[in-house]
């Protein structure tokens, strides 16, 4: 034979017993040593420390404050005293009622629109689909303010709404309390159910249904056995999300419920903290966190594992139900919903910022509230918002806050998701990191704000109190948006195959060089899109910052709330329009970027 020399080692040959014995003794130690010095392990530990400071410590601070000797009575005050009914039980009942109403109505409205957009041939359904997602990009107080502008009656004095000014009487139940709160919450959150259900329906549409019909099953049977199970998780998880938002929303009950003493947990805890009843406010925050967390946790269970909607991006050819004679009423209803939730509120907000006398179109129009100087005859001498240094200050703060949080949360989210998906750290480390980064998703914004005051509102060791600083706003913003940025980073990272990174390992690039030269450029677009969404979330958010912002450190959303409470309706609405423009513009920018080609992915 002419084969090259060969030295086959016998397979069953035992290793030299003399060398095997000590090797076995060192095995555990050697492995631990290499694991500890691995840069990914250090990265994981560092990220976990940041998460502990941002997420765990505020919650512990909140709990700890209520357990201090002088605050412990707050627990009995809230749960078992003569005040309990007013402080806890009735607001809790109202919160649950609003949550349930929001969940049911959002699912009906969102589900209906999703069906119309995905499953029918109604003309203009593509436009409907775009418009149906807009309410979610708007601040939730926009709809409450619009409602206020239209339906406000003379129950609590001050100026009245458009209808009253036109001579149409508005009953109290329509102007204030549970009905307007539930309806405006629904008008905001149905978008969420719409997006989830539409995505699920789109995935079931086409091939999947055709495959089922090939078996000879009836249409009803196909709908029951194939379509419904696929869509059900989206319906349930949309409903639970809407429930949790309805339970914990602050601004809507504050604007439309407080005047008639319709309290929810959020308004109660806000009232307690801002009037100095801090300990009781913290206890209520904890109650709110527990209620919301239970629901959000259930929703993540319902939607998480069986997310059929994301299995494939290709729906195949879409099939459509021909509505025949029903297309007119169905179309009219769909457009009416969109008209009332998206178009009319927008028009009302813009117009009502332009009228001379609040909500009175017969009083004539003016640009005073936008660009006017100080005039004692109008709004107690407040300047127009574009000439008001406080507003300009707040706009700058708000944009800077949005950008800082987007960058901070984006970087942190990328690091967390990198550690979670790419490193082979110890199981307990990854498990706890994954859990902690999910926690803020369970916490209502206003309660998280309260927790940040509890933890960082007083000096901690060498660190000064952060209350009233820009830093506390940024830190709270990052903490609140971690779950979203981790999700955005994870989906961006999943676009970068493991091989692509390992080939950089083979080239000898260290962890941070790989992150900088390979991972970051390839995930940049996904991260940027995620960052824009975080930016929008911060710009339109009120509940997180309402407790944290101070007159010295104003942000737009809080100013709107203050103007509205002080009855400067035009100013409040004008600022809301500014916020809405920033939010919607940023959202559109994000969508454009998603579709834009990158140099290396351009077609030939």
């Amino acid at each position: 034979m002419t084969a090259p020399p060969l030295t086959p080692a016998p397979q069953a040959a035992p290793m030299d017993p003399g060398s095997a014995a000590p090797a076995r003794g060192n095995r555990g130690l050697g492995r631990v040593r290499t694991a500890l010095t691995r840069p990914t392990t250090l990265l994981a530990a560092g990220v976990l420390v940041i998460l502990a400071i941002l997420v765990v410590s505020p919650l512990l601070g909140l709990l700890n404050t209520t357990l201090a000797a002088d605050s412990r009575s707050a627990w009995t005050d809230v749960f078992a005293s003569r005040m309990s009914a007013n402080l806890l039980w009735r607001p809790l009942g109202n919160s649950l009622l609003m949550g349930t109403a929001t969940a049911v109505l959002s699912t009906l409205v969102g589900g209906f629109l999703a069906w119309v957009v995905v499953m029918t041939r109604l003309p203009g359904r593509a436009v409907l689909g775009v418009l149906a997602t807009i309410p979610f990009a708007l601040p939730s107080f926009a709809l409450a303010l619009a409602w206020d502008a239209v339906f406000r009656n003379d129950l609590i004095g001050g100026s009245t709404g458009i209808l009253m000014n036109m001579g149409v009487p508005v009953p109290d139940w329509l102007a204030w309390g549970p009905v307007p709160v539930a309806v405006t919450l629904t008008a905001h959150y149905f978008s969420l159910s719409f997006m989830l259900i539409a995505a699920a329906l789109a995935s079931v549409n086409g091939d999947l249904l055709e495959a089922a019909e090939m078996t000879g099953a009836s249409r009803f049977r196909v709908a029951r056995d194939i379509a419904l199970p696929v869509v059900a998780p989206a319906v349930v998880s949309g409903a639970l999300l809407a429930f949790a938002e309805g339970v914990s929303n602050f601004v809507t009950p504050a604007l439309l419920g407080l005047p008639v003493r319709f309290h929810t947990l959020s308004t109660r805890l806000y009232g307690a903290i801002t009037t100095g009843d801090v300990a009781r406010g913290y206890v209520l925050s904890l109650v709110l966190i527990v209620v919301a967390a239970l629901v959000m946790f259930a929703s993540s269970r319902a939607g998480g594992r069986r997310s059929f909607a994301t299995i494939t991006g290709k729906g195949g050819r879409s099939r459509a139900v021909d509505l025949g004679g029903w297309s007119w009423p169905v179309g009219a209803l769909a457009w009416a919903v969109i008209l009332c939730t998206t178009i009319l509120p927008g028009i009302v907000l813009v117009l009502s910022s332009l009228v001379r006398r609040t909500n009175d179109f017969s009083s004539g129009f003016t640009l005073h509230y936008w660009i006017g100087g100080s005039d004692p005859a109008l709004a107690q001498g407040q300047r127009g918002i574009l000439t008001n240094p406080q507003i300009l200050d707040a706009t700058w703060n708000t944009v800077l806050l949005g950008v800082s949080v987007a960058i901070g949360a984006g970087v942190l989210g990328l690091l967390i998701s990198y550690v979670l998906t790419r490193s082979r750290g110890p199981r307990w480390l990854l498990g706890s990191m994954s859990a902690v980064s999910f926690v803020p998703f369970l916490i209502p914004g206003i309660a998280l704000g309260a927790a940040f005051i509890a933890q960082f509102g007083a000096p901690v060791g060498p660190f000064p109190s952060l209350y009233g600083t820009f830093a506390i706003l940024v830190l709270a913003g990052i903490a609140a948006t971690i779950p979203f940025s981790v999700r955005a980073a994870t989906s961006a990272l999943s676009q970068v195959s493991k091989d692509v990174e390992e080939s950089a390992v083979m080239a000898g690039a260290g962890l941070f060089r790989r992150l900088g030269a390979i991972i970051a450029p390839l995930t940049a677009r996904g991260l940027f899109t995620g960052g824009v969404l975080v930016f929008v979330q911060m710009v339109r958010d009120l509940s997180l910052v309402v407790l944290l912002a101070t007159p010295a450190m104003p942000v737009l959303a809080v100013l709107t709330y203050q103007y509205s409470s002080e009855n400067f309706t035009q100013l409040a609405n004008a600022v809301t329009v500014v916020i809405a423009v920033i939010s919607v513009a940023a959202t559109i920018l994000a969508r454009r970027l998603e579709g834009a080609a990158q140099p290396w992915s351009a077609s030939r």
Partner: protein
């Protein structure tokens, strides 16, 4: 071409990789000299890719050790685990794993930048390897703008640019179409010769292994079934698994019992059993008789004919399944009564329809016999070994 890094022999000793309680690589040992082309061959899930990744340094072994020349580069107890970049190894991924945001030139150049080469040396080397794999005109394209075969060449150029002493290939041809695969095979062998580096190549395709390897480690279930030269694996299969995995067409296995010194398949006497088979004390031993495709003949079965029995000594009833031309011969596939598929080579195609009965005519003795555990029976192995030489 300037000289590459000094290449060296490669030795694996009792190498293992456990994921939890499952052993992906279950203690394998082998050694090849410097400049060898070692192919890790086996079905999917046999541990060949995990072995390659341990060589590259992308996985750490949980037992045993890897030596490159005299240098230990990984040790199962964690005491030694040389980082990938210091192993002087280059890897071509199955997916090529080109960096999509870098041009072809930048893909090849970046590893040199990381390694700290100066600008001029980088330029020269990149131009050199671009010419070597004949993709110079594509230098400024992005990977997404070139064909699969061209991407493959970029991946190879990127691997050899830093002059590695060990070339690692993870099923590099599996994403190419059949014709391109054949062309690229010879291209890879040319590059192996040009660099002189010790190469390790993972594949499930025995034709690739037989064409390119100086050494083949045939793997199954995390263990090495057989290690040797391509000729040795073909001529002297050590196990029934090896016999059925190697060769075009692979050898046939007929399941038999050894009864009273005879081999019996179904109800048919297949000739004398080799010495010492039923010595285990059992009256019957289950064995596998190996017949090469060229050792077998086919006879048309004639129904109801009295002078020619349907079957008899050395004649197994079968049905016709398919046939395909190969070089100047035809490979005819038939199915035995127990469902076993058998390939027979002959000079002319058969005129039969699928399902038609025929007889498989066995030679006087099988080419090899494997015992119940699948290991070759020594008596037949020696006979067969001398025949092969």
């Amino acid at each position: 071409m300037s000289p590459d890094a000094p290449t060296a022999s490669l030795t694996l000793s009792q190498l293992r990789k456990d994921f939890g309680s499952a052993a992906a690589v279950d203690g394998i040992s082998l050694s090849v000299p410097a400049g060898a082309f070692l192919v890790l061959l086996g079905p999917s899930g046999c541990g060949k890719t995990t072995t390659l990744r341990m060589l590259a340094g992308l996985e750490s072994p949980t037992g045993g050790e890897i030596r490159f020349g005299d240098r230990v580069i990984a040790c199962g107890d964690g005491s030694v685990d040389v980082p990938p970049s210091q192993r002087e190894a280059g890897l071509v991924f199955q997916s090529y794993a080109l960096w999509p945001h870098k041009t072809v030139r930048a893909n090849i150049e970046w590893p040199l930048t990381v390694a700290g080469w100066d600008r001029r040396a980088r330029r020269e080397r990149v131009d050199e390897v671009l010419d070597m794999v004949a993709i110079a005109p594509l230098a400024d394209r992005y990977p997404g703008e070139i064909s699969g075969g061209q991407q493959q060449r970029v991946a190879i150029a990127r691997m050899i640019a830093p002059r590695p002493a060990m070339l690692l290939f993870d099923e590099p041809l599996s994403n190419l179409d059949a014709k391109l695969r054949v062309d690229t095979r010879s291209e890879l062998m040319r590059i192996h010769r040009a660099t002189g580096a010790t190469s390790v190549y993972v594949t499930h395709d025995q034709v690739e292994a037989m064409t390119m390897a100086t050494h083949i480690a045939l793997m199954n279930d995390g263990r090495i079934e057989q290690f040797g030269t391509p000729r040795e694996l073909l001529d002297e299969p050590a196990t029934a698994f090896a016999a059925t995995f190697i060769g075009t067409p692979p050898a046939n296995i007929v399941r038999c019992r050894a009864v009273a010194g005879r081999l019996v398949a179904g109800g048919t006497d297949c000739g004398p059993a080799p010495q010492g088979l039923s010595d285990g004390g059992e009256p019957e031993a289950r064995v596998s008789a190996m017949y090469r495709a060229e050792s077998l003949r086919l006879e048309t079965a004639v129904h109801g004919s009295a002078d020619r029995p349907m079957s008899g000594t050395g004649r197994l009833p079968a049905v016709f399944a398919d046939q395909v031309p190969m070089a100047d011969r035809w490979v005819v596939g038939v199915q035995l009564e127990d469902g076993t598929r058998v390939s027979v080579t002959r000079g002319a195609p058969v005129e039969l329809r699928v399902g038609d009965p025929l007889l498989l005519v066995l030679p006087d003795a099988p080419d090899a016999v494997f015992d119940a555990t699948g290991r070759v029976h020594e008596a037949t192995a020696q006979v067969q070994g001398t025949v092969a030489r």
